[in-house]
Amino acid sequence: MTLELKSVVKRVGGETHIHPTDLVLEPGSFNVLLGTTLSGKTTLMQLMAGLERPTEGEIWFGGRNVTGVAVQKRNVSMVYQQFINYPSFSVYDNIASPLKLGGIGKAEIDRRVREMADLMKLTPMLQRRPSELSGGQQQRTAMARALVKDADLVLLDEPLANLDFKLREELRDELPKLFADRNCIAVYATTEPMEALLFGGNTATVHEGRVTQFGPTHRSYLNPSDLISAQVFSDPPMNMAAVRKQGAEIVLGEQARWSADGTVGDLPDGEYTIGIRPHRVTVAPEGGQPVPIRGSVKIAELSGSESTIHFDMDGADWVSLGHGIHDLPIGAEAGFHVDVSRAMYFDAEGRLAAAAGRRAG
């Protein structure tokens, strides 16, 4: 069943939480809502679930207008960032709860609960109360409850955000497998671009109550439709600079100039903003068209195998992210290389004009 948001608007009091939004989610798809805290991801999910009613517009599900239909009558399930379980029920009863209300036989419920518990590695804890479980197990219980009833729409609102780093990695690895042979629509909200990329599927970038772009995750990542989508979809933040196109050349202030190749060459002369992801800015020259620039180091963060160097590039905060350990002292003037063949060019309105040697369109 397909889920369609048709010009959906949500206003609360005088504030607009969701600006007019159209979205079509196909059955069997995994969709990520990517955006910062309070960007509107949760509101979108509540609209999809039927927990909130849109102020304007319609929501269609499986060819039926479900705009005013109560959430109990829609076959949806949801997992929250907080670990939400029924505190007075055992893990078993928590998982069985949606089935019991579905009028399914006792034996069948038992079979499905045990199967789900097995899948979610909860079998030894079935008789315990949620408060007696670790955070990871509590969230596994919530997920088991969401998945046990074969919902048509499964909403996951930053489900891994409150978990320890390694637990997050573990569950992130398991999630796609759980959805692999289901024909439901999965919607997953996150603040981390990396999660969106690892899940693949489709990604909608959400910013201040608007879906700025929606499409296959990797295509959106490589071809952001505008500056805002590009910023939302970059961690660490995207490096940006004002450049000028003069004939066959791109000029970056006093810092650098390079030849405008490929589709970039077709752009009309004028002012542009370039966006370059941090891993395209490296200490040693890398990639197709490395151009040297200089900046003063603000801080070099070193992990075991990579260096993240924050530096000041003519007044703008830039970040370089590369392999190897480059321990640059604070305040040092240092040289970096920008692979401008990977630069994205945005016009004065913030729309993508050209990217990675391809013409946007």
Binding site: S134, K166, L197, L198, Y221, P236, E301, G304, I325
Partner: protein
Amino acid sequence: MAKITLEGMGKSYAPDPDSDPAWALRRLDFEFEDGGAYALLGPSGCGKTTLLNIISGLLDPTAGQVLFDGQDMAGRGPDQRNIAQVFQFPVIYDTMTVRQNLAFPLKNRGVPAAEIEARVAEIAEMTELTGMLDRRASGLTADGKQKISLGRGLVRDDVNVIMFDEPLTVIDPHLKWQLRSKLKELHRRIRRTMIYVTHDQTEALTFADKVVLMKDGEVVQIGTPVDLFERPEHTFVGHFIGSPGMNLLSCGVGNGRAIVGGAEVAVANGEAAANTGGRLELGVRPEFVRFAETGIPVRVSRVMDAGRYRIVETLTEGGEILKLLIDNETGIPSEATHVSFDPANARIYSDGWLAGGSRAA
């Protein structure tokens, strides 16, 4: 400023600490050098917060001593140790202004007003709080409040050590890295001993010069981020550091090489492993695995594109999962293929511990 030494220090909550499993923190000898940046890293319940609280004097060790510059701290409370601590949840004095908060530790110690004013101004500058000095502290955002806690620690120039107990927990995801790099930058500038407790490997590795990795009340390895990444002493280190963690394949040993499913593989510690018993495993990080013409036969099962690199999941003939981390430009063989390891970064572990390492059985 002081060097902090732990001598045979351990903590047990049991009435009879002689039985080994009762130790919440196993006995430990370690020296925190003056001016270093340390991280205590491990999953929840590993004892890292216990260790922190013993150093700060909030808890007493059951055995051994904590020495500050060679002086035994037994019986001295946190107020007598000249330490500062930033807690998981911001601790500020609600009724005071930011300025009064920063001045509080100095005022309590009877520092002259003029000196207080100068110090507060200096610290406010450092922590970017200057513009808010006269605002009520309770009105600030979570990251602002954490900066106040930090500022209260920095304001005293006699502080021996500043401790951080998961200080980024309540910070919005997109602000985390800013505060993180701010901490790092401050450490670089003032060179005061800092100890940072976290479960997040990225925070630990980027912040610390030396990481203390803990598990189940025991220190597993202490080393620089590079040590932990490149030379894990235990399979747990390999798993916990790095994302994805280190691959582990059950193996045998012969001719100074590891034998995996019939194939011979060159490793860094083949000779040392020849005489060890126990359950043998070959550990190699995904970063050090390459597709090759010969080597260990595998089948590609899943490819995840993380944007700046890809994670390839393969299955060995023994049914074990082996992950590779490769850049976007390298091709991925379609089905059956072979992989080879970088011999300098592939090691044999016996019962979890590095064969021939300092802690080997």
